[in-house]
Every structure is written in structure tokens, then in C-alpha cells.
Amino acid sequence: MPSSIPVKLRDVTLELLADRAIFWPDQRTLFVADLHWGKAGTFRHFGIPVPETASPDLNRLSDLISQHQATHLVVLGDLTHHHTGVDPQLVDIITRWRRTHPQLRISLVRGNHDRHLKNLPDEWQIESVPAPVALKNVVCQHEPAVFSDDHPLVLAGHLHPRVELQEGYTHRVKCHGFWYSQGCLVLPAFSSFVDGGIVKPSANDRVWVTFEDQILEVPTRR
């Protein structure tokens, strides 16, 4: 199993990465969805002791950026989880991380969670725009939808899709994955502190599952 898979969808060539991100070589752009920064902080705010997961997630992101020499990072919504979790420590962690990528342009296509935080800290240098956003022949938005055949490719997040794989009679394995259905490619959540909703693809869809550092397309028809 490889750690990335090239795909061509609606005339756009992308690389699906096992690390739950997409790289668009033409534009040197990296797409991720659902980072949910500050989720652990929100839990702490409400008295529930949960360890912070931001730093390891940021390290993964840094690795991807340098590995692919990306110049643009597009977040497909839900950058932050809730304003209660964006505490000074987190702001500081992110700011320090941001300084390590001074040249990188970061855009946030706002999702449902992003409404909780009115303004992102200036030091983060993240441009925040409402969905949908068109980049060349790719449309970025947070919530997936169904599109006609002549619509350009749409990238989305929101669902944190996971699929079930069946082995033998009843043994099932759940994996995070990419789900392409009717013109819309849904990315798995990048955050390591979110659950995935189980999606059930239909026979015309395409599905790629990620497993540890590997990615594999699973046929939807047999």
C-alpha cells in the first residue's frame, strides 16, 4: 500500500495522501479539512480533563507542507472547534507554529464551527472567507453536496467520513477515508480528536481508505 494515490476527477489531477490531506501539484496547494483546534481546551473549559492534541497535529501538518513544498494551505472549514477552547496557550502554540512557515499562504473556507470564533488572532495570518470558494477549476466548501455532471470538482469536509469494511461474516473494520460521490470529494478530518461519521457509499461512488501511513482505493462494486 502506498502513502499517496494520484487521482483524476473532473479533469483535476490530485494526490490523495494517507495523512488525511490532498495535494494539488499544479497549484502547489495542500487541502485539509476539520482541524478543530481547541477542542481539548473546550473540554477543559467545561471541567473535563482531556490532554491537548494540537502540537502533534501541527507537526503532521508541517511535515506535509515541507514534504510537498506547498505554497498554499486551504482549510476546508472547522479550523477551530469553539471559542471556549481557544485559550492563550493554544493561541501561542499556533502562533509559534505559524512563524515556522512564513512564506505559506493559509486560507480558511469557513465551516459551521468557525462561526463561534468571530475573529482569528492576527498573528496566525490566516485569511478567512465564506464558502464556496473557487480556485481555478476546483471549488472549496465545508459541507458536501450533490452536483451535476458539468459542475467543476468540489472539495469538502464536515462529515469526517469513515467507512466500514467487511471481513468474513460479521467482522467489521472502520477506517477514515476519502469519499467521492456525485462531483464532491469529501476529505477525512485532519484532527486526531474527532470522531468519524460512518458513511455508506453507493455503487457509483469511489472510496479510498487510510490506514496508518497508507492509503488504498476500495472498489465499490465487485
Partner: protein, 834 residues
């Protein structure tokens, strides 16, 4: 008053009064009741064990009554004046089921009224109205009937000590039900606290017969009792009759299966004999199926038959219980939800569908009939497959010999401790050395180390090691590091809502579109439903409409449904006692003793088994090897119950697969397990050392069982109890949206970022000890090592192998890489719209 009477002591006058009351009821106190009264008067604690309906309630109540009567003799007229001012709670009566509270209340009220004792009896459970609750907030009645959870909530009140410090007696009803659970641990901690406030506290447990009665008594009185607990045996010689409905034609009777509907018409004939019948099933889905089947055969019974299980709405259940008590129902199909409590005098007949699983359980169920002292309790077993007939005969043997299962108490669960720390912090706060000492007085935490206690306290206060970087986080407040309190109102409310160790996890309320509640189902079932799908629930045929805010909206279906929800859990293993009795039945059969009607009925099948292979036995391990189109099968019959077989099959598969890369599918039941592989398995002539050696057992289990995944699931309850999951305030969905994380996810996050968290260790330990029953597994392996091995090659699947073969609930184990397997797996797709 005559001069003789005056010379009598107040105590014997009190005794006369109480015995007089019994005589007035046409009863005479049983010797065992008097024994408990005397022990109570002497200041003792202890355990009364007897079957239900034998007068345990008045055995426990007598002591406090005598005391009150005695005091009245000494000080006539006292207690009449200004009673409400001086009112203090004296007697706490704990019951595991709040449904029992009102019945108990009536039973306790009777002698009080007749003897004109001026005591107030009240209940305090989840059902108590807010007016009464409010009044109880400042003053509790003399007798309070409550549940372990409600008692914890009382302890979380600031004035807890003031309310409860004069409690001198605690009665723990149905102690056997609580003993092995975390609610039992919660009870132990509460008792330790009450005992600290009043060291003369008398605690009496009422229990059905279990295998470890003296341990049960020890747990109740704590680690360092001032006086050893007294054991009082209730009226012995409860008579049991256990028989089975034997199928008319054995040829058509299946070798496997668990529905048993083939026996329906015979059961109906028995039910028609009159009176109320209880039909016990082993699962909720099965009860739904039987209810439908009965109604289909006897449509004219509609209105006189009912369904009762744990997912049905409380009000409906209570209505059913009430109707049974009044003798208005002909038949109730039920699950273990009716095992306990409520006095069901009108019940004439009890049926058990399928395997009784355990001796104590069957006795308990049988005890629902013949509820009056001295009557015989009868249970009619309805086997669902041929081998279950042997189980019935085995159960009868075990009941006669009194071989009843034990229930092991929990060993220092840290999640319950963390919850308790918050409870006490809320209920007035604590000093840490004091509290450690107090907690160690309970049986469960008698061996709690200073380190473990410090860790739990640290976790409850600052979130532990992983949150060091977040000094502003705290749940408990501590001004000096020694004293702890919880005063933040929001956190306090949150904690009170999460008290309670019984976890209804992931269940959704089922409601009609118009709003009436029907009950609750598990999320996993609802996830499979599509709009318009029909399913049976609570005895009704329903159509799924929508789901939002944890509520499943349904309407009455016009057509008959075909599916039944599957509820998780409740799959009990066959107990060791019953399994042993099963093997004894087989041995007697083998030796030519064929008297029991059940074994006579299955003789053809047993003969076939002997002919093709051999009968499994206590002192040799039978291994059958069969080749079929599906591959190579290995069947083992250790007779250790399905939990142990689950662990053992994975372990054996793991050890075989260590020698060469190979994939197995495993299938288990209560009698044995099957390993199926595509290639032929190389098995030495004496495989005992290879398969059952004990030295690497724990490691091998962890490697073979996907123990990580099991621990992840076990973490669900632990996270809930220790306050890591907050379900939200009743009726306020939105405020808690931001706090949604499955416990599985929390488990992953803790494993990655706080791997030394003791709650993770606890979940792994609980998997090994409780889910896999490691100690029973070890005993089984020890036995198998010393057994001789018989490997046979039957011409085809034997009667014992067949149920394993057809059981599709299989586990997989493979030493191939998961990524190679993923490539072979198929995706679960949306079902094509039909």
C-alpha cells in the same frame, strides 16, 4: 397495669408487642427472623440469605421496631409531641430497583400503623416528586427507602452529615444483585462514610443464595468491622420443581438455534391452564419475537398478555407490574427485568425459554412462582435446541445439590473512586488523609495504595500529569493541597447529573410522532434504519420516521414488521456450576443411567455423537477434526462458557498461527469453540503444552484478542463514571454540542497523550478480569493441561459441532498483515433501494 407486667423489662414487652402484631396477621415470627432481631439488638451487622417471599423484610425491620417499642415502653408518650422538629433519619433501606421502593414502603408502613409508631416512611429515588425532595432537603423521614445513586446524591449535599449522622441501621436489599457491580462499590463507599459518622452503624444485607455468602457479608461490613458479621439463614427447604417441555417429535427438533418457537403450541397449552404465567427469555429481541408469536396464535388474548423488558418505557413497565400483582394478566413475556423484587403472588407458572445459563438465575426465576412461604416454586423450561434439554437436566441436578454460582465484588475501581471524591468534595469537602483512611475502610478499597489514591485525587483536581501545562484547569478546589472542595455551581450541577454508575449508553428514546414515549433502543440499531422501515418494539409494529436530538420518531405501522431491534449486552455465559453439571449428566448417560426425561429425549443425538466421535467429558479434552467445503475445522469442547471460549479460541489460534502465517475464523458457544482455516492445520499428537501452557498466557491473550479494541469499549463506562463524558443537562441539547466525543476517541487520545493514565490500566484490567474472565480461563487451562487429549476424525459434523458451524458470529484472527487483509475486504454499501 398488673404488677407482673410492670416487672417485665421494656425489652420483653416490646417483643410481646411485635409478636402480637404478627399473631394479628395470622403469622408467627420465624425462628430466623427472631434471630436477626436479637442480633440487631445486640448491635450486630450481618447478612440474611433466603429465597424471595420468605419474610426477609420483617427479619430486617424487626430490630429497629423493637428498639422503638422499647423506648416507648420506657418513656410512654414520648415522640408524640413536636415530632417533626426532632425528626431524624434512623433507617436507610437501599434497594437496587426503584420499582421496589413503593412496595417496600407499604410493607414497612403496615406494622408502624398497627403498632402506632410515629415514624414517617418515605422513598427517595429518581421518581420522587420535587415537592417531597424539597422537604427532604432539610429533613429526612425516620425511614428512607432509596437507591445507591440517590444515596450518593444525598452525600453530595452540603448538609449530608446533618441529615444522615443519626442513621443507625442500613438495610441493603437484594445485596447479591449489587455485590459484583460498581453500584455495589458505590454502596460500599457510602457505607464507609455513614460508618464514620456513626461507628455503631448496623448494616444488614438481604441476599438470595449465592456461592460466596461469607464474602458477601464481609464486603457489607467493610475492611475493619468492630464486630464480625452474623450470617442468618432464612427458611430453608424451599422446594423447587424444574421440568421441561419435551418436543413431541425429536426428529424435527433442531440441533442448534435459539428461538424455540417450535415449542410455542405446547407452551400455550400450559399457559391456558390458568393463572398468570411469566415467560422469561434471555434477550430483549427474543422477548419481542415470542410476544408477537403468542399474539399471532391467540389474537383473543390481546389485552391480557404483556411484554416487559429493560428498554420499555418505565410507566408501561410499572403498569405491567401492577397488573401482574392484581392478577389481571394471563401471561407476561419478559427478560431479567422481572427477575427481581416485586411480590408477584398471583404468578402460577414460570417458563424459561432457552438456556437457563446459571443455577442461581433459574432458581430466582422459579422463585417468582410459589411466592408464599412453604409453597413449591416451579419452572418449566422450553429448550430451543436439542442440547438445551441436557442443560435443563443439569440445572435440576445443580439446584438439588445446592451448587450455586458466586458473585465477585469489584476490586478498587478508580473510576468509582474519582466520582466519590467529587461527591464528597461537593458534600462539604474533605481533608485528604482523612478521606484515604475512610475509603480504605471499605472492602473494595482496603488495599488501595497511597499512590493510587494520590493519582485519583490529582486527576479529579487538576486533570493529572497530561494537563500540567494548564494550571487554570481544575475540577476540585484546594486552597492548601490538603483540603478539597467543589463549590463551582456549574461543575456541581454537572457532577450531580453524572452520579450513578449504571450507564445507559448510546440509547435513544423512541417516541410516537404525537409525543408519547414508548421506550429506548440502542443507537447501533437505529443507525441501520431508513425512513419507512418497519420494526417490532415494545410489542408494537412501528414505522421509522426520523431521528433528531436523540429521539427516534415513529408511527404505528400498517403492515406487520419483520425486524426486531438487537440490543447489546446481556449475553451471559453458561456458569461453571451449570457446565460441570452438564458434563456429569453426559457421564451418567455414558454409564447407562438414562432416567431423566430430557436425556431420554435426546438419546438419539447423544448416541450419534458417541458413534461418530465421543461425548465431551470432564477428564479428557475432545478435539474433532473435520474437512468441509469451507475448509479445515477444529472443534474443541472445554465446557467453560462462552467468555472463556472467546479468549481461549483466540489464544489457541494465536499460538497455532505463530508457527506459520495463517488466518482463522473462530466461532464459540457455551460448550466449545471452532477454528476454521483454509489450509490444513498441523497439530501435534499431544498439543497440550503448545496450546494451553500458562507461562505466556496474559501476553498471548493481549496479542491475540485485539485486547486494545476491547479495552477501548470497556473504557465507555469508566469514562462516564469518572466524569470524562458529560451527557448534558436534561432538555438542553445545544449547550453540550461542543462536548461531543465518543469514549472510544477519548480512549485513543489518552492512549496517545497520557499513556500512564490509570483509568486506561483499569479498562485493560477489567477486560482481562471481567470480560475474558481470566481466572476462569486459567483454571480451565490448568484442567486441560492435566486432561488427556482425544483427537477424533468424525465422518461429518457431529451434533456438538453443528451449532458452532452454523453460528455465524465469528471472530477472525490472522497473522497476515492488516493491510493485506484490507485489500481483500469489501466495503459496506448502502443497501440498494428496493
Amino acid at each position: 397495669m398488673s404488677s407482673t407486667a410492670r416487672r417485665k423489662s421494656a425489652r420483653s414487652l416490646a417483643m410481646e408487642e411485635l409478636t402480637g402484631w404478627f399473631t394479628g396477621q395470622d403469622w408467627a415470627p420465624f425462628p430466623f427472623q427472631k434471630k436477626v432481631w436479637r442480633a440487631w439488638l445486640a448491635g450486630d451487622s450481618g447478612l440474611v440469605h433466603a429465597t424471595t417471599g420468605t419474610g426477609k423484610t420483617y427479619a430486617a425491620l424487626g430490630g429497629p421496631l423493637l428498639d422503638a417499642l422499647k423506648k416507648r415502653q420506657q418513656k410512654p408518650g414520648s415522640g408524640k409531641t413536636k415530632r417533626s422538629r426532632s425528626r431524624k433519619c434512623r433507617l436507610l433501606w437501599l434497594t437496587p430497583l426503584r420499582a421496589l421502593a413503593s412496595d417496600l414502603s407499604t410493607a414497612i408502613q403496615r406494622p408502624l400503623d398497627d403498632l402506632e409508631l410515629d415514624w414517617l416512611v418515605e422513598t427517595r429515588t429518581g421518581d420522587t416528586t420535587s415537592t417531597i425532595r424539597q422537604r427532604q432537603a432539610s429533613r429526612l423521614p425516620e425511614v428512607l427507602i432509596t437507591t445507591p445513586e440517590s444515596l450518593s446524591l444525598l452525600l453530595a449535599r452540603k448538609n449530608a452529615r446533618e441529615l444522615l449522622s443519626e442513621v443507625d441501621t442500613v438495610i441493603v436489599d437484594e445485596w447479591h444483585e449489587l455485590l459484583s457491580t460498581k453500584r455495589g462499590t458505590q454502596t460500599e463507599l457510602a457505607l464507609a462514610r455513614l460508618r464514620k459518622w456513626n461507628e455503631d452503624l448496623r448494616v444488614w444485607g438481604l441476599s438470595a443464595t449465592i456461592g460466596n455468602l461469607s464474602e458477601a457479608a464481609d464486603v457489607l461490613v467493610g475492611a475493619n468491622p468492630l464486630r464480625p458479621p452474623q450470617m442468618v439463614k432464612g427458611n430453608a427447604h424451599k422446594k423447587y420443581r424444574i421440568r421441561s417441555i419435551i418436543p413431541e417429535t425429536m426428529e424435527r427438533f433442531p440441533w442448534s438455534g435459539h428461538l424455540g418457537l417450535k415449542q410455542l403450541s405446547q407452551l400455550l397449552t400450559e399457559v391456558e391452564k390458568g393463572g398468570t404465567s411469566l415467560v422469561f427469555t434471555n434477550t430483549r429481541s427474543q422477548s419481542e419475537l415470542w410476544y408477537q408469536a403468542i399474539l399471532k396464535q391467540r389474537p383473543d388474548w390481546a389485552g391480557t398478555i404483556a411484554l416487559h423488558h429493560g428498554s420499555i418505557d418505565q410507566d408501561t413497565r410499572r403498569w405491567v407490574e401492577d397488573a401482574v400483582k392484581k392478577g389481571k394478566l394471563r401471561c407476561v413475556v419478559c427478560t431479567s427485568s422481572l427477575d427481581l423484587g416485586v411480590d408477584f403472588t398471583p404468578v402460577e407458572r414460570v417458563f424459561q425459554i432457552g438456556s437457563p445459563k446459571g443455577v442461581a438465575r433459574l432458581m430466582q426465576r422459579a422463585g417468582r412462582s410459589g411466592h408464599r412461604p412453604g409453597e413449591t416454586s416451579e419452572v418449566v423450561c422450553v429448550p430451543t435446541n436439542a442440547l438445551e434439554l441436557v442443560e435443563v437436566a443439569a440445572a435440576r441436578r445443580a439446584v438439588l445439590s445446592g451448587n450455586v454460582e458466586s458473585r465477585s465484588p469489584q476490586d478498587k475501581p478508580l473510576d468509582v473512586l474519582i466520582q466519590h471524591l467529587c461527591t464528597i468534595a461537593l458534600g462539604g469537602g474533605f481533608e485528604k488523609t482523612d478521606l484515604l483512611h475512610e475509603v480504605r475502610q471499605s472492602w473494595a478499597y482496603r488495599n488501595l495504595t497511597q499512590q493510587e489514591f494520590d493519582w485519583a485525587l490529582d486527576f479529579a483536581t487538576t486533570g493529572g500529569e497530561s494537563l500540567r501545562a494548564y494550571p487554570e484547569y481544575s475540577r476540585l478546589e484546594t486552597p492548601d493541597g490538603d483540603n478539597f472542595a467543589l463549590t463551582d455551581r456549574k461543575r456541581a450541577r454537572q457532577h450531580r447529573l453524572s452520579i450513578g454508575t449504571i450507564c445507559g449508553d448510546g440509547t435513544l428514546t423512541v417516541k410516537y410522532m404525537k409525543g408519547a414515549r414508548i421506550g429506548s433502543v440502542e443507537e447501533s440499531f437505529v443507525a441501520k434504519l431508513k425512513r419507512g422501515d418497519l420494526f417490532h418494539f415494545a410489542g408494537k409494529s412501528l414505522e421509522f420516521v426520523s431521528i433528531d436530538n436523540m429521539i427516534v420518531h415513529v408511527r404505528r405501522a400498517k403492515k406487520t414488521a419483520t425486524t426486531v431491534p438487537r440490543w447489546m449486552g446481556g449475553r451471559m455465559p453458561l456458569s461453571t456450576e451449570l457446565a460441570d453439571a452438564f458434563l456429569q449428566e453426559l457421564r451418567q448417560y455414558h454409564e447407562g443411567d438414562r432416567k431423566s426425561p430430557e436425556l431420554k429425549a435426546v438419546s438419539e443425538i447423544l448416541d450419534l455423537q458417541e458413534d461418530w466421535s465421543a461425548l465431551p467429558s470432564q477428564d479428557s479434552l475432545l478435539i474433532e477434526r473435520v474437512k468441509s467445503r469451507e475448509g479445515h475445522h477444529l472443534f474443541f469442547y472445554p465446557f467453560a462458557g462462552r467468555l472463556v471460549h472467546e479468549g481461549l479460541s483466540a489464544l489457541v489460534a494465536h499460538r497455532l498461527a505463530q508457527r506459520e502465517p495463517i488466518s482463522f475464523t473462530m466461532s464459540v458457544n457455551d460448550y466449545g469453540f471452532e477454528l476454521l482455516s483454509p489450509q490444513k492445520i498441523d497439530l501435534p499428537d499431544d498439543p497440550r503444552e503448545l496450546l494451553f501452557r500458562l507461562d505466556t498466557m496474559a501476553d498471548d491473550i493481549i496479542h491475540s484478542m485485539n485486547a486494545a479494541e476491547m479495552a477501548r469499549r470497556q473504557f465507555r463506562d469508566i469514562a462516564r463514571i469518572s466524569g470524562l463524558v458529560f451527557n448534558g443537562y436534561p432538555g438542553q441539547q445545544r449547550t453540550t454540542r461542543q462536548l461531543q466525543a465518543s469514549t472510544g476517541l477519548l480512549f485513543d487520545v489518552f492512549s496517545n497523550y497520557d499513556p500512564d493514565n490509570l483509568l486506561l490500566h483499569q479498562s485493560r484490567r477489567e477486560v482481562l478480569e471481567q470480560q475474558l474472565d481470566q481466572s476462569r480461563m486459567r483454571r480451565t487451562m490448568e484442567r486441560l493441561l492435566s486432561n488427556e487429549v482425544r483427537i477424533v476424525y468424525p465422518p461429518r459434523l457431529t451434533p456438538f459441532a453443528f451449532p458452532l458451524f452454523v453460528d455465524r458470529l465469528r471472530q477472525k484472527l490472522s497473522t497476515e498483515q492488516l493491510k493485506d487483509r484490507i485489500a481483500r475486504m469489501s466495503l459496506v454499501l448502502e443497501k440498494a433501494a428496493s
